[in-house]
Symmetry: C2
Subunit: 412 residues, 2 copies
């Protein structure tokens, strides 16, 4: 299936700087796709710390199981990512494959298999033969270069219509550190399920325990705040590698809450949000990016659940695809979330204009006032549920005919 680039894609691929201690290479192994790179190797200098966040699915893939286990060591020497086969629901064969890939990479790099991280995306339920990957590794280790970011981002794509990357800098311990991230994710892959894979690299020197706390916090307000259709992959993986090549951070940083980490933490938040929004912007069939801000909820968690209820509502998403400011459906989606909301204090704004307040339509509201907002590419919905001070903000895309085309077609 040909994929035209999403109308919500960024204008261009960012100019990605080198990250000390990170070298990248990709290869076309023909696992599923022909004539395109489908395996990425990122080689990391010794001493690289690692953190990770994974799918909450109860049927997660073999590479996710592997990473969760490897993460206990806290150190990484490489990450191997393949597109085309998710190595999910593959039983013992799946475990043998991740073990073989890790052993081969560890042998080449002179490290422990537990320092090799892995992620896979693509068809599920099909055994993934490790041979094409392990054979490619020799060449990949040799070819790895510090500048290969565009190819790296392309090698992990499946039905993505554009390669996703972002870069930021921050001050840490008197030095400037850099954070680069690449991501893939587009909703769903015909004939299989979506997967979001993200790899983030920084030259900052931060130990893995602190790195994990920073990553978990950033993921909570970024990758956990996007949805294309409410379906959760078996394989979602976000990895963060810190090589320390920028030089030692301030001594005595013992906790993620240390104020000296704040600029780094904020830069990481921003990078994660940028990548997360790129995934939502590449949602299958997306014509509009939808931002949903909920305030006044019992807690931030309650606000998040209400916002996700709106974001996952097929009714809301089809209405927006039709450029219809159908706030009644927003009321419905707030109501069905199961969280506390005071109906008679509920206030809804679309594109900054109040459409409903005090449990009924705002008498001053005229639908014509928001028609130009509805015709735009970025729709903003705000709902205040009148209970307390909990708040959340999430992003999704609209539900269009192309989503059905992409996901309802026969398997070829």
């Amino acid at each position: 299936m040909a994929h035209t680039v999403s109308p919500l894609a960024p204008a261009s691929f960012p100019d990605m700087p080198v990250i000390g201690g990170v070298r990248l290479a990709s290869a076309a192994t023909g696992i599923r796709y022909k004539n395109r790179p489908d395996v990425l190797l990122a080689v990391l200098d010794p001493g690289t710390a690692v953190a990770g966040c994974f799918t909450r699915s109860k049927s997660r893939s073999a590479p996710v199981d592997w990473c969760v286990d490897a993460l206990k060591g806290g150190m990484a020497r490489a990450v191997v990512i393949n597109a085309g086969n998710a190595n999910a629901f593959t039983g013992k064969a799946g475990v043998r494959t991740v073990t073989a890939v890790a052993s081969a990479a560890a042998r080449l790099l002179g490290c422990k298999p537990g320092e090799i991280f892995q992620a896979s995306t693509g068809v599920i339920g099909e055994p993934l033969d490790p041979a094409p990957i392990t054979s490619a590794l020799v060449g990949l280790v040799r070819a790895a270069k510090a500048e290969a970011w565009p190819d790296a981002a392309r090698a992990i794509m499946t039905t993505d219509t554009f390669a996703k990357a972002a870069t930021v800098t921050a001050k840490l311990g008197g030095r400037t550190v850099t954070i680069n991230g690449i991501a893939k994710g587009s909703g769903m892959i015909a004939p299989d399920m979506a997967t979001m894979l993200v790899s983030i690299f920084t030259d900052a020197a931060i130990p893995s325990k602190i790195l994990q706390k920073l990553l978990s916090r950033s993921v909570d307000t970024s990758f956990n705040c996007i949805t294309v259709d409410g379906d959760t992959s078996t394989s979602d993986t976000v990895l963060l590698f810190a090589t320390g090549a920028a030089g030692p951070a301030s001594k005595g940083i013992k906790s993620a809450a240390d104020a000296r980490l704040k600029p780094f933490a904020e830069a990481l938040d921003g990078l994660c949000l940028d990548l997360a929004q790129q995934v939502a912007r590449d949602g299958e069939g997306a014509e509009k990016l939808i931002e949903i801000a909920v305030t006044g909820a019992e807690s931030d968690r309650a606000a998040h659940r209400i916002a996700m209820s709106v974001a996952n509502s097929p009714l809301v998403k089809t209405a927006i695809a039709g450029e219809d400011a159908n706030w009644g459906r927003i009321v419905m989606a707030v109501g069905k979330a199961g969280e506390k909301a005071v109906r008679d204090r509920l206030r809804i704004r679309i594109g900054g204009i109040t459409v409903a307040k005090n449990g009924m339509r705002d008498p001053a509201y005229h639908e014509a006032d928001i028609m130009s907002h509805m015709k735009g590419r970025h729709i903003v919905i705000e709902a205040d549920v009148g209970v307390a001070k909990g708040k959340a903000r999430v992003w999704t895309c609209d539900l269009t005919h192309r989503y059905i085309d992409i996901n309802g077609s026969y398997r070829s």
Copy 2:
């Protein structure tokens, strides 16, 4: 918008017998639709007991609030249902409307306003003027007839493509009692949300407390087991009225668990399931009825959540629309439900054929074997999650282009 009849509709409207103590009439009041009946009155003889189940939405409509309150009295003399305006999110004006309709009907029937039940479906956020309804009531009380079931079922339709009704009989206290039910519901109503309204009438003599237990139990395995798109209306209402016209039931029935009630309870279960399936069969854009049976879960409740996760997955629903036996998406939907499942014991069958077992594809499975099942109108998915003995069965429909057409069109 013209609606062609769902390909999943029953062959014909059932032959509905008279229920002693129930008389029906409908009228065209022009609330929203032109030239079609849009208000239904069912007059009930004195002594009629009532039970009800309602939406769990936190932003429920004024008629739902009214019914919940009226239910405390346990007795009913009438139910008034209108289509075209849901009287939801209408603030104090909404309360004034339900109060005015109840007062007018109570005056005409010589009863308390709290014995008048109400339900509304249609546009939300628009004030519902009580005048057209209260004016029509005089004529409706006069015109009410015991035989008017087909007109009654039609008067409450919105985007339904066929009128929904069912009838059953059961033995109770040595007599044959009859249960008639009518329902409306079709997923969503452009430009507004779906609502499922069900009214059930029986000539059995059963006090309201026992009636409530029987109804709640039946609803749990029927109306709570269907979904079109996971969106919950502000207005869902199921009411059960027992006139007692068939004569007194066995004396000494003090509990819903009394074995003498079993035939009635089973008949009620069957009737509710029939009506619930009719709603799923009329899901917007539906081409296939999907039945999902989950076994081996930690509890029946866990099984229900897993089954609903599969039923609400846009990925599963679009795959079935495309006649694609994409069991990988079923694995994903089981995994995302958040309930315990043993990946390596997971077994999935489609159309009775095992496609996956022991955490991987069944080696004996060939996709060609289930192609004829996938091309049919009734798709059966079974998933055993290998934990314990919890089970559940739910029904939904596929997700097609017509769903987007119906719900993504501009409001006219």
